[in-house]
């Protein structure tokens, strides 16, 4: 069984310990050294043990339980390990739900541990009792309520195995207070398999050879890759595959950074605000090779007109994703690292000069109509695009970029430069505003040596702004850039385009962000002039410790290209 942790889980024994201590020992056996959480009545026994084990297990006190989940997600996304979040029962547990739903739809390995009222009180509407198992069922890969101390080791072993194996996802374990208090003889045996759960698939050779035949015969092939390449640690195999065949490749938002953005075969993003060429050519290619992606509606637009002319190959680890939205001609089930490695010897370099020229032709149109104006504006107001360009100039593409949800997210993902994988952290499937600030904290702790820059809208920033307190208390070196357009920009854009400019509740009267940052002891600056931008970003990146930069951008800019929702990828608009 393949696992994705750096260190392998170990077997551990201890005589007569409490359930609470057992929980900590399970975490340690799984190689966890960092947890995010918030205490409260029903989880106090576990917090008491966290106190005793603080040398081995660092607990990060967040300012809200939602923050704990997004931190665990950010940590998981940059480290490749399972993120852990903890909360008390009742409101503590319900505050986790948004982050769990986000992790579920974006396949992020996470284990959440919640305290629960004592088992004899279950169902009595006791103080802070909520049915978190019922509430979290449809947004977890697995969940389980522990009511007996003896269950703790085997259930936590399963939790970690399930969270990280196959298509990763969130697991919630609810532990009653009596199970935390009771004593037992502890033995931890890591889980290596569950009989009702298949997490890995041997690659079907007939599917593989059918795929190879289609690839070798293709005249106009297009690769669209997703996060599966990153989650499956398939970056090297993927790059070799792209380079050997010479096939142009485009990414979904969660696939971003798996192949460096400057790679000559990297053709940019597909989907609603993706690039012109890969979207249009989706409906011209003769073969679409989908790798570790799930044909989300933001990627495909109208399914009735999506790649109908093409044969489709799907390399995918989750059987339920095959033929879910788009019917495919060949499905290769399994980890895409395995399938790509096994596919490699069977594919040949293709002659695609004319086909690639089509991309360059369309790129030139997008460059002229959109990109130049975004990156090198001649109008007075600052743009989100030029801020990203300047960040690239200073970071060289080495930073981890964490984004929230909205216009700034689309702009950042379109323009940010990446040299290495696991560098783009964003809320893709759920589109959770408030994700970026806490996720950036986790991202930094998951990759402490790397520069982490959070790019956030003025709206989303205020959804989890209290996590500045966590940055302050933990003394974390996170750079925060708020692109302030004084609007809920993306919604305003839709109102402008589809609701006759009726700006219903999208204008924001914002507080003094600089004063807020400073109140948390964070160095801060605000810029609204072009000539200030580059020096300000240089200062931010060169200042040790956290830094807050507010960039006042043009209020009513729109993000283009755009595929209106429900339209075909061919109907992509440049203005």
């Amino acid at each position: 069984m393949k696992t994705k942790t750096a260190s392998q889980p170990t077997t551990v024994q201890a005589k007569n310990i409490s359930g609470a201590e057992a929980v900590i020992r399970c975490l340690l056996a799984e190689g966890v050294d960092l947890v995010y959480g918030y205490p409260g009545g029903a989880i106090m026994p576990i917090y008491d043990e966290l106190y005793k084990f603080q040398d081995q297990l660092h607990h990060v006190l967040t300012r809200h339980e939602q923050g704990a989940t997004h931190m665990a997600q950010g940590y998981a996304r940059t480290s490749g390990k399972v993120g852990v979040a903890m909360a008390t029962s009742g409101p503590g547990a319900t505050n986790l739900v948004t982050g769990i739903a986000d992790a579920q739809i974006d396949s992020t390995p996470m284990v959440c541990i919640t305290g629960q009222v004592a088992s004899h009180l279950l169902g009595s509407d006791a103080f802070q009792e909520t049915d978190i198992i019922g509430i979290s069922t449809s947004v977890t890969k697995w969940n389980y309520q522990i009511t007996k101390v003896s269950e703790i080791p085997s259930i936590l072993a399963k939790a970690f195995f399930i969270a990280r194996s196959g298509r990763p996802g969130p697991v919630l374990i609810d532990i009653t207070k009596d199970a935390q208090f009771d004593f037992f003889d502890f033995e931890y045996v890591p889980c290596t398999g569950i009989r009702s759960y298949q997490s890995d698939f041997p690659i079907a050779q007939d599917a593989l050879s059918q795929a190879a035949t289609l690839i070798n015969a293709a005249k106009k092939p297009l690769i669209v890759w997703g996060q599966g390449v990153i989650l499956g640690e398939a970056e090297a195999a993927f790059k070799t595959f792209v380079e050997k065949t010479g096939i142009p490749a485009a990414w979904t938002i969660l696939g971003l950074s798996a192949l460096e953005t400057d790679h000559p075969l990297n053709m940019g993003m597909v989907g609603m605000h993706g690039n012109y060429a890969p979207n249009l050519l989706t409906n011209e290619c003769d073969l679409l090779i989908a790798i570790g992606m799930r044909f989300d509606d933001r990627v495909t637009g109208s399914l009735d007109t999506y790649a109908k002319q093409a044969k489709i190959i799907h390399l995918e680890i989750d059987p339920a994703e095959v033929n879910k939205n788009v019917m495919v001609d060949v499905a290769v089930l399994g980890n895409c690292k395995d399938s790509l490695e096994q596919l490699l010897p069977h594919v040949q370099p293709l002659e695609l000069t004319a086909w690639k020229a089509r991309f360059h032709e369309l790129n030139a149109i997008e460059e002229e109509k959109v990109i130049q104006k975004d990156l090198y504006p001649t109008k007075e107001g600052l743009t989100m695009g030029e801020t990203l360009r300047v960040i690239n100039e200073h970071s060289g593409g080495d930073a981890i970029i964490v984004t929230d949800v909205g216009q700034h997210q689309m702009v950042a993902c379109r323009y940010a430069k990446f040299n290495q994988s696991k560098s783009n952290v964003t809320s893709g499937g759920l589109g959770t505003m408030g994700f970026a600030l806490p996720a950036a904290i986790g991202a930094k702790m998951g990759a402490p040596k790397r520069q982490v820059i959070a790019i956030i809208g003025d709206g989303g920033y205020q959804m989890t702004i209290q996590e500045l307190g966590t940055i302050f208390q933990q003394r974390l070196d996170v750079k925060i850039v708020v692109l302030n357009n004084e609007f809920l920009g993306m919604v305003r854009q839709w109102q402008q385009l589809f609701f006759d400019k009726r700006y219903a509740s999208t204008e924001m009267i914002n507080p003094d962000f600089i004063a807020i940052a400073k109140a948390y002891g964070i160095a801060a600056k605000c810029v609204d002039q072009r000539e200030e931008l580059s020096p300000a970003i240089a200062t931010m990146l060169n200042t040790p410790g956290p830094y807050f930069l507010e960039v006042r951008v043009e209020k009513e800019d729109n993000v283009f290209p755009m595929i209106p929702s429900g339209a075909s990828v061919s109907d992509i608009r440049l203005e």
């Binding site: 290596t192 398999g193 009989r195 759960y197 339920a320 033929n323």
Partner: protein, 182 residues
């Protein structure tokens, strides 16, 4: 696409909350469950769900994959009515006076091959197992005589084809053994 009745058979571990998890899959897609039955299966410790839904073929294929994706689900299948042997049970409670005063009731019971389960001075209960049309016919026939209570179970069914669950479990156990040895 045409909608049809399908019987979904699911083999699962015995976990609290699994009914919730499985019904949530239907809820999320706004699909009405016609009936749901859970019971032990032929394998110790393994449970079986039988769910009846009316859906398109494409829809049923997708939903069965979503069911099978659940960690505690060993295997899920879907079948058309032609591929299964299925029945439902119904209970009918009637006042005893009706039984003695209305000769016709006795004929109805006899013809329908229903079984008398209980007779007391106040009421009697009959049970009929069979296809939906049969339990429904009996319901319609008895209704004029005053049904005190009526209840019908969800569908239970077995398939004509082999399910092979033991094979899946044996393969898993065998690989576990191998892992231990190596």
């Amino acid at each position: 696409m045409e909608k049809k009745l399908y019987t979904i058979s699911i083999y699962t571990e015995n976990n609290v909350g699994l009914v919730n998890r499985i019904s949530a899959i239907f809820l999320k897609r706004h699909i009405n469950i016609r009936s749901l039955t859970t019971s032990p299966s032929e394998i110790p410790e393994v449970f079986r769900f039988v769910i009846v839904v009316k859906m398109t073929l494409e829809g049923i294929q997708k939903i069965v994959k979503q069911i099978e994706k659940q960690v505690d689900v060993i295997k899920a299948f879907y079948h058309t009515d032609e591929e299964t042997i299925y029945v439902e049970s119904a209970l009918y409670k009637i006042t005893s006076t009706a039984l003695f005063e209305e000769r016709q009731i006795q004929n109805i019971i006899k013809e329908s091959q229903a079984k008398m389960v209980t007779v007391s001075p106040e009421f009697f209960v009959i049970e009929k197992t069979g296809f939906r049309e049969e339990t429904e016919k009996l319901y319609n026939d008895l209704k004029p005589y005053g049904l005190l209570q009526f209840v019908r179970s969800g569908r239970i069914s077995v398939t004509k084809a082999k399910m092979g669950i033991s094979d899946i479990l044996n393969t898993f156990n065998a690989t576990k053994q191998d892992e231990k040895k190596s």
